[in-house]
Amino acid sequence: MINDVTIVLGGQAGQGIQTIEFILARVLKRSGYHVFSTKEYMSRIRGGQNTITLRAADRPVSALTRHIDILLPLDPGILEHVADRMTVDTVILGDAEALSLDRAVLDAPISRIAREAGGKIYESTAAVGVLAGILEADQTILRDYLRVYFRGKKPKVIDQNCAAADLGYAAGRKLCEDGSLSYSIARDEKTADRILVNGAEAVALGAIAGGCNFISSYPMSPSTGVLTFLASHDDTFDIVAEQAEDEIAAVNMAVAAWYAGARAMATTSGGGLALMGEGISLAGVLETPLVIHLAQRPGPGTGLPTRTEQGDLELALYAGHGEFPRVIYAPGTIEEAFLLSARAFNTAARCQVPVFVLTDQYTMDTYYDIPEFELEAISVEKHIVETNAGYQRYRLTEDGVSPRGVPGYGSGLIAADSDEHDEDGHITESMTVRNAQVDKRLGKMELIMKDPVPPVLTGPEDFRVLLVGWGSTCQPIREGLERSGRTDTAHLHFPQVYPLPHQAQGYLEQAEKVIVVENNATAQFGKLLILHGGREPDGAILKYDGLPFTVEELADAITEID
């Protein structure tokens, strides 16, 4: 009996696999199953081969698996596309006749069911029904959810969708009852109160919780989801959401919005961040706070626009000319995406520096059920002062942070200057003043270092081997390590990659062997460890084909470590 089922839905863009997954995941969760979902897709609007991987299990699951238990191909081309994920146990489910494959297909007459229910448009709902039947989801919950999902449609359309789902459900049950399939996933009643939020939504919700009220961005995969989410809730949360003409405008708007008292963010991907370089440097010299969400995709150049990579850590680390402090967060879980995105606004406001939230396509498009976010844990720290006449924007202070005034709040004048400036904010070429202002800006690093997000250790405390990861590799490494069965190995995940948290030192010193695990070709965090952690990694597990790590491939790689 299998209690953790991996279903892969495959089809051309526009064939409806997203509808199937969206409904199915929610119905399964409400039925008491833990679910995980992620997708990989080509950079095109129609056609191609795209897949969604959906896991249903009796315990929380939060990482991508390589193997496929059930494959539902809506297009015959999918089989070749996922060939390396198929095992002898993979069941191909679908319209045997329509697919006409040379492999055995477990017949699920989706098109016949759809016709019976009322027409071809009900195929997606029929497929949901079949899969829900196979996994024995709660049929009442399925019907209720369909009525919610299709609300606003004509009653007849809603009824026919329900009919398609019922017929599909019966067909799915029959496949199990005649012994063709057998799954046994224990239900957990706690899943009902858990939420399904993907990485893009988590970053956007975290931003709102952190007080974000201004977003200026240029659409670029895979970062756009954050912009669309905030734009679609602009009237509820009074957010100024503007699609800028380019990333240069986007970052300059964000910096100036902070100057005027807004809490602003720009969301982008690598190419866009490259264009933002000068604007990031502007935030550095103006000492305005700034939050940038960078959803990475493979470069260089246009690269693989819809795929994933951790190739822009060094870009975020060095973007912008000149020397100024910055902070880089790299959430590894949905909860971290929410919390760090909120925290980014407070850190930016407190330290008056650019703060990056570094994610990737995999994070953006992945979700799994998690406990509801705890809003009580988050406060909006404004760090704004009412000014008086004689106010100095760049007053020298002990910790380097000059109290931040905004135009219109108090009687002081707010002078922000991208030239080197004196304490009043006016242009200077005095070398003495230059030194004082550089020291003041860089001095803020000490303040940042005082309150880092510590790395998270999973596994035995008396480890010999230490797997080091950051960002989205967190969950696949955790499960891969667990599956490897190694007792001498632990995993250290860094939700904050820069500055390197001081808590890392002890772990790095203890490790006999440090292995970095990164979704890139050059072990960028490994290099950062050498530079800032004084520890050269002893090995690296790297992947840069545009896809995320799977649990199995990491389990294999971890097992092979000496």
Partner: protein, 286 residues
Amino acid sequence: MEKNRFDMGDIDIAWCPGCGNFRILQTVQETLEKMGKAPEEVVFVSGIGQAAKTPHYMKSHFFNGLHGRALPAATAIKAANPGLTVIAESGDGDMYGEGGNHLIHTMRRNPNITNIVHNNMVYGLTKGQASPTSRLGMVTPVQVHGVFEEPFNPMAMAIAMNASFVARAFSGHPEQTGEIIRQAIEHKGYALVDVFQPCVSFNKMNTLKWFADNTWYVDGSYNPTDRAEAFKTVTAEGKFALGVLYVNERRIPFEENLPAYKRSNTPLYMRSPDREKLAELIATRK
């Protein structure tokens, strides 16, 4: 005479003696004073160049940002606090060259800001290269065979974009320039004021006298709401028209279209997120 509230007093100014910038600075200060504006309610936004230093010589809030990027910054400042009077003031290289893309899109957005462009038809700070508005044939250290690229016509582009207020002035005529700038500040929406000025160090072709000889004012018979007539006026061969050349009062300013200000005009710095609504939104994901 009472001291102008926008006057910085005795300060070191980086401009060359005789530079047209001085007259523009003084005209803007006097206009704001006459309009009863207070330094605490005005934000000057500029980029890089000699004209872009203007805010440093003005007693007010200012945001002296990056080369070419004054307009997105000014748009954002106005959107973050609509109660502020926002003036983006810089030169022809900054606004028309480096910042060209933003010029187009700011005209589309129509934020309620004033955009004053010091147009001396040459690059000053980088020492004498052509600007987008340099006239044909001007020889410079880079354009050694003379400028052969079509000069940028900001007035024609603004009218083509249906910018809501388009005007041209000349620094040598402070009285008329002040009146044009006053109207531009009072206009609700994006207002472009291109101000001709001489560059005494690098432009030997377009001098104070040249501008005086090569300009004319539209008079009371001119109808600035007639777009076709305005376009004809600013694309005509010969002397350049001065005055308020095009006005469209029907366009809604950017900030007024923003949902964030439908219920209240409270600046963003005074606001906090609605926790209850956020909790409700999160709960919909169950």
